[in-house]
Amino acid sequence: MIVTPQSMHFAEALPLQSGASLRDYALSYETYGTLNAARSNAVLICHALNASHHVAGVYAGQDKSQGWWDTMIGPGKPLDTNRFFVIGVNNLGSCFGSTGPMHLNPDTGRIYGADFPVVTVEDWVNAQARLLDALGIDTLAAVMGGSLGGMQALSWTLQYPQRVRHAVVIASAPNLTAENIAFNEVARRAIQTDPDFHGGHFYDHGTVPKRGLRIARMIGHITYLSDDVMNEKFGRQLRDAVLAETGTPDYKYSTQDVEFQIESYLRHQGDKFAEYFDANTYLLITRALDYFDPARAHGGNLSQALRRACAKFLLVSFTTDWRFSPARSREIVKALLDNKRDVSYAEIDAPHGHDAFLLDDARYLRVVRAYFDSMEGVS
């Protein structure tokens, strides 16, 4: 499936939860499949921390440019684009096309940098709703996302309950735990304390806080995997280069060399990430994660918070996901049960930790496929 990114400009200011607003902003998006005559087969995909509107398919002439959820979405895939009209949208504050901190602030004529307003999950959903308005889509057959994307899907059912018939919430949570916020804070401190960060205005200085980004990615990456999968993949293996150099399977007795495979892997992940990801975006998106907490306005009572939701739900979690554990998904399930909402919940016994939601796990994909296949009123 060859796909083309598009962009939609919005002149009207978007009021934000913080009280600030954004005007003259653009959203990058892609669509797959065809909107039916009744406009009843649209599915919105919400992305997580480091993803974009490029959800599925490849760009012309770039065979290896598969979208981040290409295992899930496409012709004949679990979310079948022969039947559904699928929309991927890049969130505000991101660094993949939609208006973000590296763009010009129309109020000052300078690059936003650290001045880009803090955006929340609710703000993103409002922006996505405007995109749907512009595309002439009143009601979604489904909204779907994993992790932070699942939070947006959940938020859709609360902010626009009449516009969502189904919500597919994968490897997500009703809010972050203290431990989760703590991981985000380590990542943010790594970025903020990088001398190249310049308080977020590094564009003016012609620098990129790559050291901070690398460490942010390394810590993040650890939390997306499971102990089991790391042990299976890397264990205590030493790098081939170390073995070749020493001629024995011995340590180098150095404190600064990269000796273990896992060290090498993490550094590689960090290096790759620092090349393409924006530091301010990382801060903004992790903050949006920290802030999301629909129960907060209801004294911490999630059941009360979810009373507004009238969509049907599918929730999926993965047994080895300790960043967004099954227990957190069960909290959402319980709140839906308390409100007598239609909900199904699959707990997939997968070894891959949080990352499992992006991987090709047959049991997981079969459940999602069955859910979309049994969806009525899509014609």
């Binding site: 599918l314 069960r330 399930v333 319980k334 049960l337 308390d338 007598k340 239609d342 909900v343 199904s344 919940y345 699959a346 707990e347 997939i348 016994d349 049991r363 079969r366 459940v367 069955a370 859910y371 296949d373 049994s374 009525e376």
Partner: protein
């Protein structure tokens, strides 16, 4: 439950329009039947991946849970009816789950193979564990970790202070009210707190 006749007989016990929780709902056949024929709503609980998938395929709400971890997700009296059809015999904490069934449901309906059915008694008398259509397993491969009788469940219900609203047997799809402990392969209890 594989036996369609037993399923239909048990469905008769569920009031029309009930909100139903089906513990160990299998592939969702019973819930789908209740939704279609009696206007019921509700959820199934299943542990097996294949059954969860089957439920989703037929559009039955299903929650993947291990019943041995309890029903803490469900509030008191949040369902009109809680079904436990051919589930009790698989549970480690069968007694706790019996109490949970009537905590969460205003009515609990429990059905399970009656080990005191006369062919089983004959088999034991001859010195061998029974292998029948209702209990098709060998002693060494049975998934039934609890074997009990129609009479045993009555005693357990009483011990836990549960009200027995009705109890009977089912044999070949027919209700058995005369000597059910002897004459029925399946025992049925309708319970409340």
């Amino acid at each position: 439950m594989s036996d369609l006749q037993i399923m239909h007989a048990l469905a008769e016990l569920v009031p029309a329009g009930s909100r139903v929780l089906d513990l160990g709902c299998g592939d969702g056949t019973m819930l789908a039947h209740l939704q279609r024929t009696r206007g019921c709503t509700g959820y199934g609980i299943e542990i097996a991946d294949a059954n969860v998938l089957a439920c989703v395929e037929r559009g039955v709400n299903v929650i993947q849970l291990n019943l041995d971890e309890g029903l803490s997700m469900f509030e008191d009296a949040s369902f009109d009816v809680v079904l436990q059809i051919d589930t009790l015999q698989h549970l480690r904490n069968a007694e706790v789950m019996l109490r949970e069934t009537v905590r969460v449901g205003r009515i609990g309906i429990v059905a399970f193979p009656n080990f005191a059915h006369w062919p089983n008694r004959l088999s034991i008398l001859s010195g061998r564990m029974p292998v029948t259509r209702r209990l098709p397993y060998q002693w060494y491969d049975t998934p039934n970790i609890r074997v009990g009788t129609h009479a045993d469940l009555g005693v357990l219900a009483e011990r836990n202070g549960l009200k027995v609203l009705d109890s009977f047997g089912i044999q070949q799809g027919q209700t058995v009210r005369f000597l059910p402990n002897l004459l029925a392969g399946t025992s049925v209890y309708k319970l409340s707190r």
